[in-house]
């Protein structure tokens, strides 16, 4: 998912006696499934948590443009170039919806971007891995957009109205991206030996980082309970991860690719796949800035923002001049 660890500002769920009358009414409303809108009263922690979650998600969309964007100029056919261009452009659109949703909670886009640029805000760890061959573009669509959908479809029913509505639009496009990614790989595995090797290599590199996208294991995820009560998270990390695995393993088999996990096995009794140990050490390192591309990604975003400052300034200055002229006329 694109928001892997959102701090709720609380250690656990608050209810019953400590909660104020207003908070109880708020929770009751959520329990009834009535959506919260920008003008409604909401606990400060709910608002802050949502801003954190939505902005992490928005940042992920924007940073996520980089690993794929760098293949647009190298796409091997005009059709693929168009598909990838449209996809990366969609991700910019997702960022835009999400920043707008965060703005309904009183956050400003500039402040959120500042937090991204100076390293205070997080974005999905997955985008700190490099795209090394064309097959990676397929793997990202299939696995990364696939994992994002797994997380985001339930959020279409989350308690905060603007976020839920943004998710509805986003999910439609993400499922498109996933199909296109899978189709790209299907073409490759039916192609030359070199193409098959590229596809397998891509799966080898992207499999584990994709599983890490769902965030820490439930036992290590302290904020899940509060977020679930607020219905801004509808399933635990491990639940979603398991669903993703169960869905994806057969898809890999259909491609004729093998999952890079010697411990992977099908459990007849539970009806689920079981996987080997996730390398949480790697996960935390990537989260904390030591992934293969963390520095480059952040530097690229910072450079774009700083180099663009004069452009934004010019647009502002021109708009002001216009307004003044109109007022004078």
């Amino acid at each position: 998912m694109y928001s892997q660890f959102v701090d709720t500002g609380s250690d656990g769920q608050k209810g019953g006696q400590d909660a104020s009358e207003q908070e109880r009414a708020f929770q009751a409303r959520i329990d009834e499934g009535i959506s919260i809108e920008p003008k409604d009263w909401m606990p400060e922690k709910y608002r802050k948590t949502l801003v954190r979650q939505i902005s992490q998600h928005a940042h992920s969309e924007i940073v996520g443009m980089l690993p794929e964007g760098n293949w647009i100029t190298r796409a091997p056919s005009l059709r693929r170039k168009l598909i990838l261009l449209a996809k990366v452009q969609d991700e910019a659109g997702h960022g835009l919806y999400l920043y707008s949703a965060a703005e309904t909670l009183g956050a400003s886009r500039d402040d959120l971007l500042d937090a991204l640029h100076d390293g205070r805000a997080k974005y999905s760890s997955i985008f700190n891995y490099p795209t090394l061959t064309w097959a990676d573009i397929g793997a990202i669509g299939w696995l990364v957009d696939g994992a994002a959908i797994m997380n985001q479809v339930p959020l279409c029913r989350c308690s905060y109205g603007p976020y839920a509505r943004a998710m509805v639009r986003v999910c439609k496009e993400e499922s498109f991206h996933q199909r296109q990614g899978y189709e790209l790989l299907l073409e490759m595995v039916n192609g030359t030996e070199e193409q098959k090797a590229m596809a397998q290599d891509a799966l080898n590199r992207w499999w584990w980082p994709s599983l890490m996208m769902f965030g820490p294991a439930d036992g290590d995820s302290v904020h899940t309970q509060q977020s679930m009560a607020w219905k801004i998270k509808r399933h635990t990390n491990d639940e979603l991860r398991q669903r993703f695995i169960d869905q994806t393993v057969p898809q890999a088999h259909y491609l004729g690719l093998s999952i890079p996990d010697p411990d992977l096995r099908w459990n007849e009794e539970t009806g689920h796949y079981e996987i080997g140990e996730i390398d949480w050490d790697e996960f935390w390192n990537v989260v904390n800035g030591n992934g293969p591309c963390n520095r480059e990604r952040l530097a690229a975003r910072r450079t774009a923002y700083e180099d663009g400052a004069w452009v934004r300034e010019a647009a502002r200055a021109h708009a002001e001049k216009r307004q003044k002229r109109r007022a004078a006329a």
Binding site: S77, R80, E187, A309
Partner: protein
Amino acid sequence: MNTREQQQFEYLLRLGDSDLILGQRLSAWLGHAPVLEEEMATGNVALDLVGQARSWLSLAGELEAQGRDADRLAYFRDAFDYRNVLITERPNGDYAYTIMRQFLFDAYHYPLLQQLSGSAHEGIREVAAKSVKEVEYHVRRSSEWVIRMGDGTQESHQRIQAALDDLWMYTGEMLTPDDVDDALLEAGVGADLEQVAWSWHDRVRAVTEEATLTLPDESWMQQGGKQGRHTEHLGYILAEMQHLPRSYPDARW
């Protein structure tokens, strides 16, 4: 192909290659644009141009009837077989340079497509009629940005003026007819570049005036793109763009 078909083929390559190379240049901005809305807008224009390129090159391939489709033409021709106008291969530079390059091209592209929408050639007419709607937006957008930058801050004014000065010598080629342009005009298939030039000058004058920019004195104009003599940049563009299909010629993607 007889001479007439050869000329039409050349003409279609010029249309397709200019779109493709400019689309290729623009697409390098994705992820790096000054503001999120511009990621979207640049992506839109790049999408339109690559899409149009695909249509023009398909027509070229059909006309040639040698089994080359749009991809074959895009990925397996070297620089000397490319027919894009030189301005499209200029590097992105800063955002002012990208915007000015776009504006100077759009101001030509739009009246060109308007004319081609009345071409005697059915395929050209159809592609032009579809594309002209897209390019109407391109030219509106790039004009607005030229005005914003020119009449924005001191810095933006300097940057966009510098871009105009630098790109000016690549504008003449678009507006100057050669034998191919003349032959196609005569056949009722191609555009009248004299009229395109009128429209171009009108727009460029009006927009730069509103943008408080100074038009460079008419000076020496670079030529050659339409005949396959390019700048050093095109080789790098093609090396990057064509790398995969050429490295794996048996592969389908």
